[in-house]
């Protein structure tokens, strides 16, 4: 599961949807893998507008990646800042979470990640 996926996943428990604490989910005991993908600046520029930057900063820090700048870069920033471009490419496109857990900051429910697939099926008492 690409780390980018965490930017559009939230807790599956209905009552958590309205809480700010349910997003982003917090990786725990994460085992990461890295795909080798050719860097594509135009793709990153097009992906960036749909990224929740504050959530991505949180995810980046929690996975032990460098701290991202406070404000999202503009397309011009990205084109001129090769280091940041590389960092974002590695984090969003190349990094996969293979094993571990995703924890909801609101209800504390832990979703298991196995073989790169996160399981969001809820036990019957939470449905």
């Amino acid at each position: 599961m690409k780390v980018m996926t965490l930017n559009f996943l939230t807790c599956a428990v209905k009552n958590c949807k309205s809480s700010n604490d349910s997003f982003p989910l917090h990786p725990k005991e994460a085992e990461l893998a890295k795909d080798d993908i050719e860097i594509n600046p135009q793709l990153l520029i097009n992906v960036l507008p749909r990224i929740d930057w504050a959530a991505l900063r949180t995810t980046s820090t929690e996975l032990g990646f460098p701290t991202l700048p406070e404000q999202p870069p503009s397309p011009e920033d990205l084109q001129s800042d090769e280091a940041l471009l590389k960092e974002l490419h590695e984090l969003l496109m190349e990094t996969q979470m293979m094993e571990g857990k995703l924890v909801c900051g609101h209800c504390g429910h832990e979703y298991a990640v196995k073989n790169g697939v996160a399981n969001f099926l809820l036990p019957s008492h939470l449905v």
């Binding site: 599961m1 559009f8 599956a12 793709l43 507008p49 809820l122 036990p123």
Partner: protein, 269 residues
């Protein structure tokens, strides 16, 4: 014609095998009218207009991908279908076997398409993120999906099968005949009018689709498609103002009055 993704690795004893319904989705989504619609909606960035409103790369989701043949097709041929390779694709399925099969089907289809295209253009495929195990769209943030594709369990049945119990939520080499039957039942059994699961998905559309979001839902004749479209058109917009929901049939198969005459309904606002 665009090549159909290879699904020869998929265990059909517990994952739905691509069939007429899957192929109707492939044909419809790659038809000239739908690619024109999708391209105009999601690829507004033309060189002549330097700063159009940029919502970013669309997120394409298939719910219940099974073998993954449809989402692999959409990912591998993103440039042809959406007018841009800059799309993100994902899928959600209750079955761990379907999730694993889908991940592999997409990866195979993308590397095949890339190998084919290498000479002229290295990136005609979209970006696959991963299959996610879950119930319909429940793991997704509100308003996050731009294109949703659903080939539901649409066969009318006396009841709905139970969701997979914990032991069936994990990948295993060996499953019993009963477990395989349960997983296959989940792929087709639709309950009353074959609509119980589809109705839940339709109810979730206003919440999960983005402002520019569009859904493609497959229905069979017994689902009472005209009633379904009427119900969608009368849904609230969620924003109170603005345009309401539209629902139109954009693809059909089985012209004779068979009980499984299929159609694809496009839903958007």
């Amino acid at each position: 014609m665009l090549p159909t993704p290879d699904t020869s690795h998929v265990p059909y004893n517990r994952v739905y095998e691509p069939a007429e319904d899957s192929f109707l989705l492939l044909d419809t989504l790659s038809s000239p009218s739908e690619t024109a619609f999708l391209s105009s909606r999601f690829c507004s960035t033309s060189p002549s207009s330097p700063s159009p409103p940029n919502f970013g790369a669309p997120l394409v989701l298939e719910v219940g991908p099974g073998s993954g043949v449809v989402i692999a097709f959409l990912t591998a041929h993103a440039s042809t279908i959406f007018g841009t390779p800059h799309v993100l694709t994902t899928a959600i399925d209750v079955s761990p076997f379907a999730c694993a099969a889908t991940n592999l089907t997409v990866r195979k289809a993308v590397s095949e398409a890339e190998a084919e295209a290498e000479a002229e253009n290295p990136s005609t495929s979209g970006q696959w993120t991963s299959a996610i195990q879950g119930d319909l769209v429940s793991p997704l943030r509100p308003g996050s999906v731009d294109v949703l594709v659903f080939n539901p369990p649409y066969v009318p049945t006396p009841g709905l099968p139970a969701p997979p119990p914990a032991p069936l939520q994990e990948l295993r080499d060996k499953t019993t005949f009963e477990e395989d039957s349960h997983l296959l039942e989940l792929t087709y059994a639709g309950g009353k009018d074959g609509m119980e699961t589809t109705d839940r998905l339709i109810d979730a559309l206003p919440g999960v689709l983005s402002e520019r979001g569009v859904a493609y839902i497959l229905l069979c004749a017994q689902n009472k498609p005209e009633d379904v479209k009427g119900r969608i058109r009368s849904m609230g917009t969620g924003t109170g103002e603005g345009e309401g929901w539209k629902a139109e049939t954009v693809g059909t198969s089985g012209k004779q009055a068979g009980w499984e005459k299929l159609q694809i309904v496009r839903v958007w606002r």
